[in-house]
């Protein structure tokens, strides 16, 4: 165990034939949701374990250790780790975030109709089922890029446009539409909406790129890319906090496992075809790093309401401390009225959102030193109930708005996980 920086999350299994080792270790600080997924009866709950070394070869852990002591470096601890595809919920939502993500939105080719949507989902189901296990897709032009699986997840959602094209607009929930306009928005059409979404995540960017391409090949003739957004964060094995490119510890407050049913998964009060699914709000938020970097560290901490180094709230000493929004010093709030965490704070499980953000760092425009920001991916059962009120508070009172600008926005219905023999979207188009 000591040779790994941190145990892998508990909702994973190794590839068939690979070496598995039951893990009794405590989850890492970032794997709180993995425990939940396993305990909640999520996919693969009975398959606890994680890959050791090159489990593709079936090398036993002891053999890996021996090879390591002889100087042959074992593969990364997550390399052979498989996240199950079959289950009540799709993978890639409560899954502890992987280091790399690509969000790709496609628009259906006009006229393909419900048959086209079904054909796409059938292929993506097959593709995802294989790729998440490190197996090439059918007709894979680059079969050597399919393994090791590296915690790959493929998460599929539908925008309102997909239901319209399929003649199923009457089955779309009310929230499956563009978010209401916020005063801080400067949205660019090139990052807006989309008929079909694939969120593809993996620890290994080569595995990720291959999976994205495989999905796009399957979409040939049915749908075409509308936008693609790539992001990164720390690998799952990192013991360091997720930070955004403003330097802030990011993604601290999350629903705990027991709250996922209320906060994330769509239940009996939602459309039948989405039970076990959720929604994704993806906001592309540009950061003005040049002006942000002009602030002194104390000012940055006042803006966010947390210490830059530790991520602790200004009223606490460590990241996990609950902010005391009522605390005052010399008659003034310790966490300022304009602080980000004050406006983002919610108290009930039903209001919480599951944040799965990724950083982006793209080519700067002429005259700028950075085109960076955050792909703010939020999963919640109902965006209108959960995301919109929070964003309205942030738009009205969050000083962070001076340095951040939403430039992209999209809402997708994330399908439930498929059962054996089913396709994604079975209850809608199957």
């Amino acid at each position: 165990m000591a040779r790994h920086p941190a145990p892998l999350p508990l909702d994973e299994q190794t590839v068939p034939g690979g070496a598995a080792e039951a893990s009794s270790a405590a989850p890492s600080r970032r794997s709180f949701l993995g425990v939940g997924a396993a305990l909640a009866g999520g996919a693969g709950a009975g398959l606890v374990g994680y890959g050791l070394g090159n489990s593709q070869t079936g090398v036993a852990p002891s053999a890996v250790a021996a090879a390591s002591s002889e100087g042959a470096a074992p593969d990364a601890p997550w390399a052979g780790s498989v996240i199950p595809f079959i289950g009540a919920h799709q993978a890639g939502i409560s899954t502890p975030p992987q280091a790399h993500a690509t969000f790709v939105a496609l628009n259906l080719t006009p006229g393909v109709g419900q048959d086209g949507l079904r054909r796409l989902l059938r292929q993506w189901t097959n593709d995802a089922s294989r790729l998440q296990r490190g197996i090439p897709v059918l007709g894979d032009p680059q079969p050597d890029l399919a393994s090791p699986p590296s915690r790959l997840t493929i998460t599929v959602g539908l925008g309102r446009g997909a239901l319209v094209e399929a003649g199923l607009a009457d089955r779309a929930p009310g929230w499956l539409a563009p978010l209401p306009a916020f005063s801080v928005d400067r949205l660019e059409p090139r990052w807006a909406d989309g008929d079909v979404l694939a969120q593809v995540c993996a620890e290994d960017p080569i595995i990720l790129a291959h999976a994205v391409r495989a999905l796009l090949l399957s979409a040939t003739g049915i749908a075409a890319v509308h936008w693609m957004q790539r992001g990164f964060r720390r690998p799952v094995t990192s013991t360091s906090a997720m930070r955004n490119l403003m330097g802030q510890v990011d993604g601290t407050v999350q629903p705990v496992a027991a709250e996922l049913e209320q906060s994330v998964w769509i239940g009996a009060d939602g459309p039948d075809w989405l039970r076990g699914g959720t929604s994704l709000v993806l906001r592309r938020i540009r950061m003005d790093l040049d002006t942000w970097d002009a602030l002194d560290p104390q000012a940055k901490e006042q803006v966010i309401g947390r210490r830059m180094t530790s991520g602790a709230p200004l009223t606490g000493t460590k990241e996990t401390d609950v902010p005391d929004l009522a605390a005052t010093r010399d008659g003034l709030p310790v966490i300022p009225e304009f602080a980000h965490i004050r406006h983002a704070a919610v108290t009930t499980a039903g209001q919480k959102i599951l944040r799965r953000p990724y950083n982006f760092d793209d080519t700067p425009a002429a005259g700028s030193s950075a085109e960076a920001g955050l792909l703010f991916a939020a999963f919640q059962a109902d965006p209108v109930r959960q995301f919109v009120p929070m964003q309205q508070r942030l738009a009205a009172g969050d000083l962070l708005n001076f340095w951040t600008t939403p430039i992209g926005s999209a809402v997708f219905a994330i399908l439930p996980g498929p059962a054996e023999g089913e396709i994604l979207g079975q209850a809608l188009v199957g």
Partner: protein, 214 residues
């Protein structure tokens, strides 16, 4: 058009064959789809459910996995799969038939004169030894559908039936996929040919049957 040689007319095609750039790769040998806990539509064994129990003779020992067919509007296309012999005696695949094609052929890839890889019909079929498996893959051995008259669309399925030497048969359901590799057009009996054409359109103006495969 039985038993004549069909030559690859592009060097790229020959190269892809020579390099063994197949669709399934070696992973399928160690990672049989359907063996793992996680399977989904179309990913389990391609042999139709229950068929193994009903099959007799050689077909009872035959197991098909990872079956797929290249999407095509009309004309010709190919089926690719792994055929495993789970029995203790050899099985001999002789022919195939399908509702989407009036004529199916077994094809093999061989080293032709001058070192170029060439495709040719193999009317005798394929023998798979006891416990062995044979990969039918793009750029290699494959089963061809001729004269397809209705579009075969990606994301749908195609059924075909494999027939063995002893008369036993095995139904197979294959996923239809778009495939952009191995685009070569084969011109029967030609020593030179036109360049490749996308898709499955027969080369205009050539005499005889023009064949292509995924």
């Amino acid at each position: 058009m039985s038993n004549h040689t069909i030559r690859a007319v592009t060097a790229l095609a020959a190269l892809s064959v020579a390099l063994g750039l197949g669709a399934c790769g070696t992973t399928t040998a160690t990672n049989p789809v359907g063996a793992a806990a996680s399977t989904a539509a179309g990913t389990a064994a391609s042999t139709a459910p229950g068929s193994a129990a009903k099959a007799t003779g050689q077909a009872a020992s035959a197991q098909v996995a990872d079956a797929w067919v290249k999407a095509v509007d009309t004309g010709m296309t190919g089926a690719f799969f792994v055929l495993k012999n789970t029995g203790s005696t050899p099985i001999h695949l002789l022919s195939a038939s399908s509702p989407i094609s009036p004529m199916m052929q077994m094809h093999e890839t061989v080293m032709g004169t001058g070192g170029a890889m060439a495709m040719q019909e193999k009317p005798g079929g394929f023998t798979i030894p006891a416990g062995g498996s044979h990969e039918f893959k793009a750029g290699g051995d494959h089963v061809m559908f001729m004269g397809v008259s209705t579009a075969v669309k990606s994301g749908t399925t195609v059924t075909f039936t494999l027939a063995f030497e002893d008369g036993s048969t095995l139904p197979v359901t294959a996923e239809v996929r778009t495939f952009t590799g191995a685009k070569e057009t084969y011109v029967p009996g030609a020593t030179t040919g036109t360049n490749s054409m996308p898709g499955m359109t027969p080369t205009p103006g050539t005499s005889g049957t023009t064949a292509s495969h995924g």
